[in-house]
Symmetry: C2
DNA sequence: TTAAAAAGTAAAGTTTATTTTACATTTTGG
DNA sequence: CCAAAATGTAAAATAAACTTTACTTTTTAA
């Protein structure tokens, strides 16, 4: 599973810390998700998509091994 | 968080058991998700959306308390 | 109406997401 | 260049997702 959070974050001029704050998770969670260390819950994915005016499908991409 | 899995499952004529099999989780997981007992991971949400030709956003609806 | 299938539920266990704290490295702006 | 901000990382703890087993209740079809 890939995601484009880092890119969207750049487009929206947000740091990991302020994205985390807006979404209501810790900064380390954002970092870990960006780095592919774990996959967020659907609630988090929906919140991120909403914030970025994107779909969950464009933000998170299924891969063969998922 | 609400979801419309039960409805989509009906539209696609699938039992909890065969949906579970197609998605690769246990039947109890499908049941628990339908009953709102827990919120699936983003991978699961994407797989369900794909199977149902729906978007994650239409399948899973954020609520105020999320 | 009855047997079979499907759905609901529950407890115990495993795995994975997420937090907290804390520190190291990298990037950025003055 | 230098300080501050941002990012990376890691360990320990907690919460939540998910599995397995097993049993009960409800629905469906013959």
């Amino acid at each position: 599973m890939k995601n484009t959070i880092k890119i969207e974050r750049a487009r929206h001029n947000l740091t990991q810390a302020n994205l985390a704050e807006k979404i209501g998770v810790s900064r380390q969670s954002i970092n870990a998700i960006e780095k592919g260390k774990f996959i967020p819950s659907t609630v988090l994915a929906l919140k991120l998509a909403k914030l970025f005016n994107a779909s969950v499908e464009t933000l998170f991409l299924l891969e063969d091994d998922d």
